[in-house]
Amino acid sequence: MDSALIPQGVKRCPTWQFLLWLGIVGVVLLWGVYAMVLCWIKGLNQTNMNDAYGFALWIWADLAVIALGGGAFFTGFLRYLVGKDELKNIINYAVLIGFICYSSALLLLAIDVGQPLRSWHIFWHANIHSMLTEVAFCLSCYFMVLTIEYVPLILENRQLDKIPFFHHLGHNMHEIMAIFAATGAFLSFFHQGSLGGVAGVLFGRPFAYREGFLVWPWTFFLFTWSAAACGPCFTLLVTKITETITKKKLVKPNVVDLLGKISGWMLGTYIVAKIIDTWYWALVTVPSKGFTLTDFYSNNALYGIWILVMEILICGVAPAIILIIGPLRRNSALFMTAIILAVIGVCINRWVMVLQVMAMPVLTFENWVLYYPSWQEVATTVLPVVYGIILIMISYRYLPVFPQEQELNPVEK
């Protein structure tokens, strides 16, 4: 039925099967949309957030998807600026995943603010000294860049490509893509960093606060670094999942190996920096505010020292070692374990930098406050995930996302 739209030389599932799955995922999407509309109409009393938890699940999800979407900027940086040409075979997918992550982040932010119709105030009345202002500007600008990077792929659709203007537009955009990629890398450096800065500048919250360089706390650099390390891992993970679902090889092993190796080195260097940062914070910063490290990991039902061990050792050091050492990396089970751990690690890092900061009491006569999200919060957090699945389904079906697919899966005529 839709065969005219499907790229030539590749095989796709029957239309009924595609529509069936689209329908199933669409139901979950509608559930999320319903919760989103509830939050917009009835307000944030639909959530379980409170005055102790001004930032909660959504802000974590925001930080997490932006870190995971970091694969787009870093792969783009490696492909267009460093000149790692092999990565052209995965860059489309990295861009698509980045596009999904960033549009999701913007959507979540639009639900998260108390007065969404006033969101333009952040641009118009910008307080340039606020890390959140930097986030808003860079995020919006970078989303434009991602759209620009995604558009040529859409224009490569068989039918669209037949229209001369679109054909030329796509071609011209490809020609100067390095300029857009460079701008994207510049913007990403700042917004990934300023998201780290959001927590790091909170000098009233000793758990989050970090010293730093000039106006940037150390978390600024750590967030950029970890996004560059774990973002590509997420791109690889989604690629592997897509390969499993489609039962096809979509990217050649040398491409996966190269990106995995680079991620490993990024993760390895990041985790060394993170350990040094944690060490200094625990021994110098925290005691200067009257706390000890154990204060942050005791007297509550959830946040024990396990979370620090999990984040740094199990989900940081371990995957870095696997990805750096060639023979380990080339073992497919270990490789999968490593990229999954790296993705979990960066999500835990974002979690503690948002949720644990809020949970931890600062006044001596206050206690830990734990929170669980309402179904509306969960549904609106699931919403971007299903939206992402749908966009991937449509893009994979109708666009030449994987340049090596045809070669790896020859269609019998």
Partner: protein, 266 residues
Amino acid sequence: MKEDPNHIKARKFGMIIDLDKCTGCGACMVACMSENNVPFKEDESNKLDSITWMRVYKVTNGKPYPDMEICYIPRPCMHCEGSHGHSPCVSVCPATATDYDQATGIVSQIYTRCFGCRYCMAACPYHARYFNWWDPVWPTGMEQYLSPNVSPRMRGVVEKCTFCFHRYQLAKDRAFYEGRKTIEEGDYQTACTQACPAGAITFGDLNNPHHKVNQLVEPDPKHNGRPKNPNAFRLLERLGTNPKVYYLTSREWVKRAGDNYLKNED
């Protein structure tokens, strides 16, 4: 009335709360809510989402009877100055919806500009900032009691103690009509100060040596306003928030409850 900044030394309004006098009656909380049109819910039992610009904490020394002692700590917004006006919340607000006024030292909140991102709440270690989770609704007839000098806030924005800033504006207007160049100490007092039956709260200009607040705590400008009076302390002094609310007590354990200390620290 617009005062000529060239002729007036910057004021720094601050509050002293004598914890040895405070009985924990809560009159300051009631006065504050009534004065500032603070909305409330039918069920106020969940203190995590009810708005209390002035909140009285009950603190104990942790000892069993008969050595147990109780202290009530009223906590308004601390109107932190941080370092040169770099207070925790002001510096983070992305939309310039909260501001540190160098002329009065008051941290303001512009409700119509706030878009409810709540970053300021995350930044405030005192939990002095509150979000309007619900539309403000008053029982029928009660809207007649609302103060015309304070705008009620809409759902989805953050609010907090303003040191009754509208009273400062009224005091300036009155002084202007009476042909006075400046306002006197008694012209501008917050609602909680006036409501306290024990006289535990003192309010005034910390920069003015003739004002009681200055005499009571002797803020040291060389050390970010740290009190010279050994019985005075500020909450979470070590964080560098530089608050303008001081507490007085003769009890050592109360003073120690005001900040975090390592076990080996005095």
